[in-house]
């Protein structure tokens, strides 16, 4: 298990003509600001840009390499993440409902 931090730039600036400002525009702008404020954001002092921390949990590596076998998507992670289970899910959705 490892935690990986990603820096996600968030742009708050939106240009709106005051003459064409509508209630919808105000609502959208306000929603954007409030949503951004609810996120764990911080200001990067070197760029003065607001950034957010995203924490993700995974096992194995993130690189999805070449699919080399029909049963395992190499490097995708645990053994359970395999073509077999994707395949079976598709079969369950397409074929199984016809057998009742």
């Amino acid at each position: 298990m490892s935690d990986v931090k990603y820096c996600v730039p968030v742009t708050l600036k939106r240009t709106v003509s005051i003459d064409s400002l509508s209630v919808t525009d105000l609502y959208a702008a306000l929603k954007s600001i409030l949503n951004a404020l609810l996120r764990p954001m911080w200001v990067d002092p070197t760029t003065s840009r607001v950034k957010a921390d995203v924490t993700a949990t995974q096992s194995g590596t993130w690189n999805v390499g070449t699919v080399t076998t029909t049963t395992t998507l190499t490097n995708l992670g645990t053994a359970n993440v395999t073509g077999m289970y994707i395949d079976r899910t598709a079969w369950g959705q397409n074929i199984r409902p016809r057998i009742t």
């Binding site: 076998t69 077999m84 009742t100």
Partner: protein, 528 residues
């Protein structure tokens, strides 16, 4: 509530799904086979011979493999190796004293000791089927089949039955355990031990005679089992092609069929080279259980079946009998026109093989040589599961045999075509024949006798992702569901088999494919 199948053409397309990998990757000669019975007695396993020492089984209900004890086959395993499932082979012999209507005690020993209740679970919680033949002097003259629900241990166990027999067996009555055996054949220079049978009920091996097989087994092989348990899709194993027939006359070398119903409509020699088995004769009990090959017969009504060998005990005039497949295993192998045969079904004793022109001591028919030599990719599809057309343009006796060797040539073996040999028609015309679809290394086939009126055999085309199926009723080759997953290098050997879902009268066959040069395993519902 009975299962209902609601597939709609075009909307619901066939689709492969990935199953558990085999434990060991396949290679040249690796081959898979299955039990083609289409009732509950069907063995739930598929059997995969990987090489001379690696033999595995796949439980179709549990989706997992298991490696069995090594068969330790002789020879040099590779191209030409093969296997075939034979359901009416297994332990058989006579019963001891002390039987009841719900339990029997074996006198003839099993080939290997069994554990307590081992025979009551073949791998899916259901016991093996046992046939009791009341043919000792003074016995019932009846044949009845039951499932085993328990047994004591050892080689002569007491076996407990799922329901009561209508008679109490006596000492000397016959038992036949319909668990099946898998014939396993290696390749290379012929030698003792190149051919064995895996006895399913006792989980043991029996060495079979290899005499009269080719000096070197290679190129590719195709087995067809004409087992008495294999019946049309509308019948159950044990019923033959018509169900029970009541004789109207008998002699030491013949038996006469019905004047109405049953076999009254047979054409002359339609069932030549098939088997007659006496299933009930309360007047002459010792006649029950006898099996004889039909050498010729007249047309119905009241068809007279002349036998290839006389009865040991002539049945009474009104004995009950069935007409069944003749229990031969037929083999085309080693880039030859010679056909090889061995009577493994019907609990027949071991002996030398028959081959074109020569009848071996095992007693199988010596089938005529095929019109052209077989090659890599040779594969065959029988017709015994069919619902026949009214005109009988299709016959149970037909076996469609692709020649292989990078050709699209299809030969037809009519088992009933001539007494003792059958007859071939070379290079028949069939729908879907095209120079673009030829069969070579990697091609293998299997037969679905249970669904679609028993008219389709399935073909893995050259070990690629392409599949086809052949309609034995209408002689048409049509594409089957594309396998969207990559195969490994194409290698000879049977790589497809079938499994069967059964719920009352609802049946759904599944086509299984093991990867060429690999271990990935798939199946696909034969939904149309």
């Amino acid at each position: 509530m009975t299962t209902t199948l609601g597939f709609k053409d075009l909307i619901d397309l066939p689709q492969w799904r990935t199953l558990a990998n085999s434990i060991t990757a396949t290679a040249a000669g690796s081959c898979i086979c299955d039990d083609d019975r289409h009732d509950v007695s069907r063995d739930p396993y598929l059997y995969l011979l990987i090489n001379a020492t690696t033999f595995q089984r796949y439980n179709t209900k549990n989706d997992e493999w298991q490696t069995l004890t090594s068969p330790a086959l002789a020879g040099t395993f590779g191209a030409g190796a093969g296997s075939v499932f034979v359901p009416s082979a297994g332990p058989s012999g006579t019963l001891a004293t002390g039987n009841t209507t719900s339990s029997v005690i074996l006198s003839t020993a099993l080939p290997a000791a069994v554990g307590v209740n081992q025979l009551a679970n073949r791998g899916d919680g259901i016991g093996y089927k046992i046939r009791i033949v009341g043919n000792a002097t003074g016995s019932s003259g009846k044949t009845e089949e039951k499932y085993i629900i328990g047994n004591t241990g050892g080689t002569t166990p007491t076996i407990y039955l799922d329901s009561a027999l209508s008679f109490t067996p006596i000492a000397g009555d016959r038992y036949e355990i319909l668990a099946g055996r898998v014939m396993l054949m290696s390749a290379g220079t012929l030698a003792a031990g190149i051919l064995k049978a895996y006895d399913i009920a006792t989980n043991s091996y029996i060495t079979l005679t290899q005499t009269n097989l080719p000096a070197t087994i290679g190129t590719d092989s195709e087995f067809i089992a004409l087992d008495e348990q294999y019946v049309p899709n509308t019948r159950n194993p044990g019923e033959g092609f018509f169900g029970n027939l009541v004789a109207t006359a008998t002699s030491s070398t013949s038996i006469t069929g019905q004047a109405t119903g049953g076999d009254a409509g047979v054409l002359a020699n339609e069932y030549r080279n098939f088997q007659i088995r006496i299933v009930q004769d309360t007047t002459t009990p010792t006649a029950v259980g006898q099996r004889r090959i039909i050498s010729s017969h007249t047309a119905g009504p009241s068809p007279v079946y002349t036998l290839s060998t006389a009865w040991t005990v002539t049945p009474s005039a009104n004995a009950t009998f069935v007409i069944e497949n003749n229990n031969d295993v037929i083999l085309s192998t080693s880039a030859s026109t010679t056909m090889y045969s061995y009577r493994m079904g019907g609990f027949t004793a071991d002996g030398t093989w028959s081959y074109s022109g020569t009848v071996g001591t095992n007693g199988a028919l010596a089938y005529a040589a095929r019109p052209g030599a077989s090659g890599a990719g040779t594969c065959a599809i029988p017709s015994w599961g069919l619902t026949l057309d009214t005109a009988k343009n299709a016959r149970y006796s037909y076996i469609y045999w692709f020649r292989g060797g990078a050709t699209n040539t299809l030969d037809l073996l009519d088992i009933a075509g001539a007494a003792g040999t059958g007859a071939w028609t070379g290079a028949i015309v069939y729908g879907g024949q095209t120079g673009a679809t030829t069969f070579t290394t990697g091609t293998s086939s299997c037969y679905d006798a249970a669904t679609n009126s028993g008219k389709y055999g399935y073909i893995s085309v050259n070990g690629t992702q392409r599949f086809a199926r052949f309609d034995v009723l209408n002689r048409v080759l049509e594409p089957w569901c594309y396998l969207p997953y990559a195969q490994g290098s194409a290698v000879v050997g049977e790589k497809v088999a079938t499994g069967l879902f059964i719920d009352g009268t609802t049946k759904l066959t599944f086509l299984y494919a093991i990867q060429n040069t690999g271990s990935v395993f798939w199946n696909c519902a034969i939904q149309r």
